[in-house]
Structures are given as structure tokens and as C-alpha cells.
């Protein structure tokens, strides 16, 4: 603690000195101004978007006869406007978290394989393919999910329900391919490349000295990974996962295609239907009336807040052990 404050003090003192000594060259000044300008511009744009969303959302929130936070209905354009975000929040968070749980271990596994196990040429090829996959547009994943994966999942869903129905997640009265589980798997496949390619980059940055230290203690390859690689890459892996989670939370088209109709809040992952913020907006915005659009904007605002909270939570986790790299 003391050393930190000392250091800060020293930096501050130095700052003051260099500022006095600065000759104020034109290039420095221009660069400083443009950097400052970009920063301010970014904040202004963010604030403008937020203000716009809030202004547009207010009429619907005024008209809402149901509780906006707890209602599961979504009938903003009815004579008695009633809508709430409960089901959307549930569907969004459940499908995204499930996607993250499915994708992260696989993505880290792929990254480890590429960085430490695969022979050089295979590693290069695989890395290239993973980077390419990250660039595939989500409509492609959505169509693939609907045309190819959903029919396959019909059978899988029936199987899971019949043989593992005693697990509550796989229970329920009706099951089908167009369910939250299918949507989560498609989401997981979508976010896997981005998580994998970022974690791979981080693994490749582990200092050689740390790896050699572990090897010299008699660590096997897996033990080297556990001792020197994973702890070093921890904050990077969290950031990568959060990027993936952000993409899953905001994903519109793939989820809208895969899931059919809305169905209430249910933990039965195999039950057909389900809804998320983004899918709901994509499915209903075009046909929505004035209040309907305003209600969708309000829901968008909530999604924005959720994403923000997720990012802040990730930052908190990362900084908790900051002193350890």
C-alpha cells in the first residue's frame, strides 16, 4: 500500500515537472487535442443514445397498466396496454448463461490445444479456421440452426425427456427442438470462436520464463498449464467470456429463428418456445404500433443495463486479485 502511494506521488511530481519542461510542440498539442476530442465525442454519443432511448421509452412506460418489471405479458398495443420484461429477462439470461457454460470450457480447450498440444502446422491451420468462424454472420448460424439443428434436436429432446426426465431441467409436459436448449447450443457455437481466439492469444503471451519454471520443478504438460498458464490467463479468459456473453445477450436473429413462439417462464429447457429481448424486438418491431415500439425501446434499455452490469461484474472479478497480475 505504502509503496503504491509513494509511486503515485512520484509519478505526480514527475508529471508536474515534465509539464513545465514541455516545449508544447505543435504535434504533441494536436495529438492531445484529437485524443481528448475523440474521448469526449464517444461520451457524447453514448449519452445521446441513452437520452434518446429514455425519451422514446417514457410514453409506453406511462401507458403500461401492468408492472413493467414483473409482468410476463407483452401486449403493449392492446386497448389496455399491458407488458413487462419478466419473461424476456428470464429467457435472455437463461439462454445466454447456458450458452456461456457450454461454450467456455470447449473454447478454452480448443485454445489450449492450439497453443500447447497441436503440432505447429495443425495449430496454424486450426487457429485460422477458428478466426474465420468468428466472422460468420449470425443469420447463417440462425438458418443453420433452424434448418439443420432443430430437426436433429427434436429427437435429442425426446430422448433426454424420456430417459433423463427426472432431472427437472429436462422435465415438463411437452418437448421439442425449438426450445431454449437448442437456442443456447446455437448461441454457444456462435460465441465459441471469439472466446477461443482471444484466450489463445492470451495463452501465447504467458512468459516463457514461467513455463520453464514450472517445467524445471518437474511439472507435466498439464501441470504446467494449471500452474503457469491458466492462472496467468485468468483475467483474459474472464474478459473473453464476457465478450461472448455480451454477444449472446444481444443476439437477435439466430435466437428469433430457432425459438418459435413465446412461452411463459419455465426452467424446462426442452419446452418449445421461449423469448429474449433481442428476439422479441426483431420479431415484433415491424408490426408494433406507437406504444408497442416505445415498449420495445424500453426493453432495449433494460438489455443495455443488463449488459452494463455484466461487464461491471466481470471487471470487479478481474480487479479483485489485481496485485497478482
Amino acid at each position: 500500500m505504502t509503496s503504491e502511494t509513494l509511486e503515485q506521488g512520484a509519478t505526480r511530481a514527475l508529471d508536474g515537472r515534465t509539464r513545465k519542461m514541455s516545449t508544447g510542440r505543435l504535434g504533441d498539442r494536436l495529438f492531445g487535442l484529437s485524443a481528448k476530442g475523440s474521448g469526449i465525442l464517444l461520451l457524447v454519443i453514448m449519452a445521446a443514445i441513452a437520452v434518446f432511448l429514455i425519451v422514446k421509452a417514457v410514453p409506453a412506460l406511462r401507458a403500461d397498466k401492468a408492472n413493467f418489471l414483473t409482468s410476463q405479458e407483452w401486449n403493449p398495443d392492446a386497448a389496455q396496454s399491458r407488458f413487462g420484461i419478466a419473461q424476456l429477462t428470464f429467457g435472455t439470461v437463461l439462454s445466454s448463461v447456458l450458452a456461456l457454460i457450454l461454450a467456455t470450457p470447449v473454447a478454452v480447450g480448443i485454445a489450449l490445444f492450439i497453443a500447447f498440444y497441436a503440432p505447429r502446422r495443425l495449430a496454424d491451420g486450426l487457429g485460422y479456421v477458428v478466426d474465420l468462424l468468428a466472422a460468420v454472420p449470425s443469420i447463417v448460424y440462425g438458418l443453420w440452426g433452424l434448418q439443420f439443428f432443430v430437426p436433429k434436436m427434436n429427437g435429442v429432446a425426446t430422448f433426454l425427456h424420456d430417459d433423463f426426465g427426472w432431472i427437472p431441467l429436462f422435465g415438463g409436459d411437452t418437448v421439442g427442438g425449438q426450445c431454449i436448449l437448442t437456442a443456447s447450443i446455437v448461441l454457444a457455437i456462435m460465441i465459441l470462436p471469439i472466446i477461443s481466439s482471444i484466450t489463445r492469444e492470451i495463452f501465447l503471451q504467458v512468459p516463457r520464463a514461467n513455463i520453464e519454471a514450472a517445467l524445471a520443478l518437474g511439472a507435466t504438460r498439464w501441470e504446467v498449464i494449471r500452474m503457469a498458464v491458466l492462472p496467468f490467463g485468468r483475467s483474459g479468459m474472464i474478459s473473453a467470456s464476457m465478450l461472448g456473453l455480451g454477444r449472446a445477450l444481444g443476439e437477435t436473429i439466430a435466437v428469433a429463428l430457432v425459438l418459435g413462439t413465446a412461452s411463459g417462464i419455465s426452467l424446462h429447457l426442452l419446452k418449445p418456445g421461449g423469448n429474449t429481448f433481442a428476439a422479441n424486438i426483431a420479431n415484433t418491431f415491424a408490426m408494433a404500433g406507437k406504444i408497442g415500439q416505445s415498449a420495445l425501446i424500453a426493453s432495449g434499455l433494460v438489455l443495455f443495463v443488463i449488459t452494463l452490469l455484466v461487464n461491471m461484474a466481470a471487471r470487479a472479478v478481474i480487479s479483485r486479485r489485481k496485485e497478482f497480475v
Binding site: 514461467n210 501441470e223 496485485e323 497480475v325
Partner: protein
């Protein structure tokens, strides 16, 4: 626990280039052997062949024999991981694990060996840190990051980490080259006190240091420009510095080198 090392006909390669050529020597147990010689002559390479760390570099390989007492370390059914568990190594740049606390750094090797009992770990941590002359400086902050220590303390932490598993041999590659004179002295004292228990090999570019800490000294040199490194001679440290057997050694230690 300290064991004798007997090397014969050892060559080491990086890809197609041979870095060291035909080295044979005996390293006595419970003594300090120093390797000296101009930089680039293969001291580090040779040291790393002694605990099979050389081969972790892609394309690197070793020919020849290294006997640890009776066991050929390069024998067909010898596991390099097992070799490294009994031959510890300290590197030129201190390399504590940055994500670990001081305590965790010291027990890192023990954890690999399956030691899990808290009381036993505590005891070994104290013993190793005392052994590395670091205990008094860090005993109140064992939970703090190892990377937060000064360079000299970090290097002693790395020594504590290496001796915590009670290796049979301790290899040190220029352990003081990144340190200030006071830390260097601390580590030299440490080496002197460790030699009752361990077989110690130390690479150093500092001839006074070799003279101060070692019982025997080996002089390495390049066979010629672009040629692999070789060992010129090995003898009692006293003899090497007062009355070396080879002209090349004499030129080197008197500074008439080149």
C-alpha cells in the same frame, strides 16, 4: 541425498547446429562446481542438459550419457519429468510465478509431488525460506505476491522453491547476474551453506564469484569462431586460478582473452 553426476561424450544441438561438443566430466556430490567461460560458449546449454531442460526447446536434442549415480538420465525408460523433480534449477532471471503468493511459490513443487497437508506444508515453507535466507524478510507477508519482492529477494524465493522439494542436485545459471552486490553476497553465503546437503552446479560470468564459492571449476570455450563450445578443463578451483593446465584457461582468467 546429494548425488554424483558423471557426464560422458555429451553433444547438444539446436536444430542442426551443434552448440556443445563432446563434453565429459564428473561432478562431485556435496560440493560446488562452477562453470566459467566467455558468453555463448554453451555453459547454459550444458547445464540444461543435466536436468533434461534442454529438450523442451523445439528442435533441441542431446547425444551422450549423463549418469546420476548409476542411473542414465537419458536412458530409454527415464521420464524427463521425474528427472526434473530430483534435479532443481535456478534461472538467470528470477522467475517466481506472478500469480502466486510467496507461500504458494515455495510449495509449488511440493504440490506437484502430492504433498497436501497444511501443517507439513507450513513446516517446509519455513524451513525452505530459512534455508534461502529469506524467512525473516517475508515471514509476515507470506500471502503477498512473490513478484512484489525485490530482485534479490525474488531470486532467493526461487532458490527456496527449488530446495523445498529437497532435490539431489541444484543447478544455478548465473543466479546473481541480475542482482545488486548485497543480494549477490547473500546468495553466495547461501550457496556455501547449501553445499553440505546438495550437489551444486553454478554458472557464473564472474570469476571472483567462481573463486569464492566453488570447490571445482570447469572452463568452457569455443573451439573456434562458428564452432561448437567445449570444455577446456576442470580442476580444483585453486588450481584453475593459480596454475591452470591449459594456455586458453590462463589467457581467459588473466584477461588476455581473444
Amino acid at each position: 541425498m546429494a548425488k554424483r553426476i558423471e557426464v560422458s561424450g555429451l553433444n547438444a544441438y539446436y536444430g542442426k547446429t551443434r552448440a556443445i561438443e563432446d563434453i565429459s566430466m564428473t561432478i562431485e556430490p556435496r560440493s560446488v562446481t562452477a562453470f566459467i567461460g566467455p558468453s555463448g560458449c554453451g555453459k547454459s546449454t550444458f547445464l540444461r542438459t543435466l536436468n533434461r531442460m534442454h529438450e523442451v526447446i523445439p528442435g533441441a536434442r542431446v547425444e551422450g550419457k549423463v549418469l546420476l549415480d548409476d542411473l542414465d538420465l537419458y536412458g530409454p525408460d527415464v521420464d524427463p519429468v521425474a528427472v526434473r523433480r530430483v534435479i532443481g534449477m535456478v534461472f538467470q532471471r528470477p522467475n517466481p510465478f506472478p500469480t502466486m503468493s510467496i507461500y504458494e511459490n515455495v510449495v509449488a513443487g511440493l504440490k506437484l509431488n502430492g504433498v497436501r497437508r497444511k501443517a507439513q506444508l507450513d513446516e517446509i515453507v519455513e524451513k525452505s525460506l530459512r534455508g534461502a535466507n529469506l524467512w525473516n524478510e517475508v515471514k509476515d507477508r507470506l500471502g503477498r505476491p512473490g513478484a512484489g519482492l525485490s530482485g534479490g529477494q525474488q531470486q532467493r524465493l526461487c532458490i527456496a522453491r527449488a530446495i523445498a522439494v529437497e532435490p539431489q542436485v541444484l543447478l544455478m545459471d548465473e543466479p546473481c547476474s541480475a542482482l545488486d552486490p548485497i543480494s549477490t553476497l547473500a546468495i553466495e553465503d547461501l550457496i556455501a551453506s547449501l553445499k553440505d546437503q546438495y550437489t551444486i552446479v553454478i554458472v557464473t560470468h564472474n570469476m571472483q564469484q567462481a573463486a569464492r564459492v566453488s570447490d571445482r571449476t570447469a572452463f568452457f570455450n569455443l573451439a573456434g569462431p562458428g564452432k561448437p563450445g567445449r570444455m577446456v578443463e576442470i580442476d580444483e578451483t585453486n588450481k584453475i586460478f593459480t596454475n591452470p593446465g591449459e594456455k586458453a584457461t590462463e589467457d581467459y582468467i588473466t584477461g588476455r582473452f581473444g
